[in-house]
């Protein structure tokens, strides 16, 4: 199963958000203002390219699935549009005297949609449920050892060793009603992998701001405002009825917005942003997403299968990797393939991730001659050929980027055969042991907003818990050790130093060829102003509309 690349839960205990577009902040504060005025309410039709896979909140750790679940269910802590942590079902949390035990105070007077009261039992039940073998969320909260109720509004969470980052991991762990779950026999999460189905897949009973009215998978999901929501008065809550409609085809989705059938499109194709901006009654908001796109290559194998070089691995030569890196004209990709909607990158972490720096994110200017020279030095004056694997339905213009890159490498004599296919076929090539690709495109989001997450998945040698998305075969024992040390390092300065050292090393080695940090574009009727959510999980209770 493919989780991480699709995962978009962004967590930051630091909330380093660079507000590139000042009007988001304005819009948000305006929205909050309006909320208190309690203007009139109206429905919202929300279109996106893909549907949620299941309503069972613990069955799939996937972006679009969570995005919808956030409207029915709530975690103890969630994040607003900027990625800032906001108290949800917990009102406060702190580490107790035992550094391995956290205490959470729960929100009083909260009711589930079915009228049942929310209390500590539900939290204990839900966190236990999320750690069951069939849960897909268990990986996110492996550090939890046990959850205990103290009183109806207090729970203790014991972790395996001190874990200062625990709250960050809870933002996508939804709380279910224990009684409802038992009545409907859904104490265990749906076993998605083994094609199970349970009551919770089609029904939802949470504490969220919206209640499920009806759901037709891949067609539409209708929700209505939860009028007994605890947050009324705190959030605008102006959407009376929310209809979520997956529309796969770009053109159809856009047509739906243009013709006014939907109010909000979460993924506007980059080429259409300009046109939408030209529309009187429409608005487009763009903003950075917590995700970077890059190419990976097999830097360690003795020989490559898909190349035309006998007995040698051209990628094993750093000069070749540098040449490939130089040949990549990131500005051209940004300007033409992405229509300006991306940030060319030199590292696999956007600016709001801990460890990012301007120097590290710098990249070489496209220089064909220098690249050719490097190749010639490495012994490939006439280049070589290699197969590149690319997804065609996962990232913004993924296929077009690959195509463009193929042309650029072609200019330095490296003939790249492009194989682009669906993510469901592409990702296993990377995840398999040993990997079945030698050259590939991948995108990476950093839900913890910390470089450690990047290192352990992408740079650590492939071993047990680590390196599961590292198909480069890169293995550096020293680096591995340094990466492992990050999780237990409590001294922040020391930790940051290690991170910087690692980034410098990896950048020097040119293990990956970063392309850009992805940008999101939301399109909507001009009556709304929904800013881009860094995690790409907009929560509609925040949305208000203007009456201009």
């Amino acid at each position: 199963m493919i989780h991480h690349p699709m995962k978009s839960g962004g967590v930051s205990h630091r909330s380093v958000i660079h507000m590139r577009h000042g009007r988001f902040a304005l819009a948000l504060s305006a929205a909050l203002l309006l909320a208190t005025v309690a203007a009139d309410a109206r429905p919202l039709k929300w279109a996106r390219s893909g549907d949620s896979l299941t309503l069972d909140p613990h069955a799939q750790n996937e972006g679009p699935t969570h995005a919808l679940a956030h409207h029915f269910y709530e975690p103890l802590i969630h994040r607003d549009f900027q990625g800032k942590e906001v108290a949800a079902l917990a009102v406060s949390w702190k580490i107790t005297d035992d550094p391995a035990i956290w205490e959470f105070k729960l929100r009083p007077n909260v009711k589930f949609h079915n009228g049942n009261a929310f209390d500590a039992d539900d939290v204990v039940f839900s966190l236990d449920r999320a750690r069951q073998p069939t849960s897909d969320m268990k990986g996110a909260i492996t550090s939890i050892e046990s959850v205990t109720k103290v009183d109806p509004l207090t729970v203790l969470i014991k972790t395996r060793g001190p874990n200062p980052l625990l709250p960050n991991t809870l933002t996508d762990i939804f709380i279910m009603d224990k009684e409802w779950s038992e009545t409907n026999k859904v104490q265990k999460p749906q076993d998605f992998k083994n094609k199970e189905e349970n009551f919770a897949v089609r029904n939802a009973n949470g504490t969220g701001a919206f209640q499920l009215v009806s759901r037709e998978p891949d067609v539409k999901t209708v929700m209505k405002r939860n009028d007994s929501y605890w947050g009324i008065g705190q959030f605008p809550m102006q959407i009376t009825e929310l209809t979520y409609i997956p529309i796969k085809a770009d053109a159809t989705r856009l047509a739906a917005l243009l013709s006014g059938e939907v109010d909000f499109v979460q993924d506007v194709p980059v080429q259409d942003i300009e046109r939408l901006r030209g529309q009187q009654n429409l608005r487009v908001n763009v903003g950075p997403e917590n995700r970077s796109i890059f190419f990976g290559m097999d830097v360690a194998s003795a020989d490559l299968k898909t190349d035309n070089v006998e007995g040698k691995n051209p990628f094993a030569d750093k000069r070749v990797r540098q040449a490939m890196n130089m040949a990549l004209n990131r500005q051209a990709i940004q300007r033409v393939a992405m229509r300006g909607q991306s940030l060319p990158a030199g590292m696999i972490a956007p600016s709001f991730v801990n460890g990012w720096s301007k120097e590290l994110d710098a990249f070489p200017a496209g220089d064909v001659n220098a690249a050719r020279k490097l190749l010639a030095d490495a012994g490939y004056p006439n280049g070589f050929s290699i197969t590149l694997h690319c997804p065609n339905d996962r990232y913004v213009n993924d296929e077009a980027i690959c195509q463009a890159a193929v042309g650029m490498w072609g200019q330095i004599g490296v003939k790249v055969n492009l194989v682009s296919q669906s993510k469901s076929i592409h990702f296993p090539l990377i995840q398999k042991v040993p990997p079945e690709t030698e050259f590939y495109m991948l995108g990476w989001g950093v839900p913890t907003f910390d470089s450690e997450y990047v290192f352990s998945f992408l740079y650590h040698s492939r071993a047990d818990k680590y390196g599961s998305w590292n198909a480069t075969r890169y293995a550096n024992a020293d680096a591995d050790k340094m990466i492992e040390s990050l999780s237990s390092e409590v001294d922040k300065a020391k930790r940051d130093a290690t991170i910087a050292k690692l980034w410098t090393l990896f950048k020097e080695e040119v293990i990956y060829l970063p392309v850009h940090h992805q940008t999101l574009a939301y399109g909507m009727k001009s009556g709304f102003d929904i800013p881009v959510d860094v995690a790409n999980q907009p929560k509609m209770k925040y949305v208000s509309f203007k009456t201009n």
Binding site: D250, A251, Q271, V336, E399, N417, E436
Partner: protein
Amino acid sequence: MVSQSGNEAGGPAGTGWLARAWDSDVGYSFRTSPVAIGAAFVSGLIILATVFANVITPQNPFDAATLNLMDGFTPPGEAGAGSGMTFGLGADSQGRDVYSAILYGTRVSLLIGFASTVFSLVFGVTLGLVAGYVGGRIEALIMRIADIQLSFPAILVALLVFGVARGLMPPSLHEQMTFAVMTIAIGLSNWAQYARTVRASTMVEKRKEYVDAARVIGLRPFPVMIRHVLPNVAGPVLVIATINLALAILEEATLSFLGVGMPPTQPSLGTLIRIGQQFLFSGEWWILLFPSLALVILALAINLFGDWLRDALNPKLR
């Protein structure tokens, strides 16, 4: 009847087949049908253009290294920002000259069209001949299968073959095998028509006495089928093949449009339309419009020709 005696008026004997064909009823019908002439001219022109595509295009759109990304989205008639060359029909998102891409894409479409048409023709005609000539259980079996096949639309069969082929082949081979898979998928979805027609004609022909005459001198069924029956069922087969060619091209386009066809690095017309469709609203109309026009004109020309051929070869309609 009088109308028949018109048919008997043959041209001068002993002239070349071309002259005779020109002078025949079909030839006459061709000469007097502006639609047929136009359709044949346009089809011929397109085929010629695609054959000499590498000579008459400024760019090889299949060679990614020659593309300049900065030329991307150059409007028709303007010079690209990267290479500075002028793009008569504009450039697409990859800086590919739309005109070159159309010719190369049409070449791919035509190749798949021809290959799959030949595939289904050979397959269907063989089965039809055998069914019609041998009869009995073999015929029943073949025709039942053809019935079943015919009750499933070509696009469904093609999708199915495509899906099965993908399931059977290692993912790494998918891209290289696309051409073959497409050819077989489209070919397999169209053979039944030939089989049906050929069987029906064969059953008519085999009752004719010239077949008996051949059998009297001891010819075996196979030579009789090949030498005598086959040439006489060629007319309807030709008509079906022409119309099937148009159909196969459209089918290829549809498959590519649905995303199960040719890859964007070797775009066929369908792939070009699929790519172009992304720019339907963004103002870069030329990326969608020109390949669509090319596809429709090509299909229409072939269809018009096939339609005329059907009427011309059907003596009843004269």
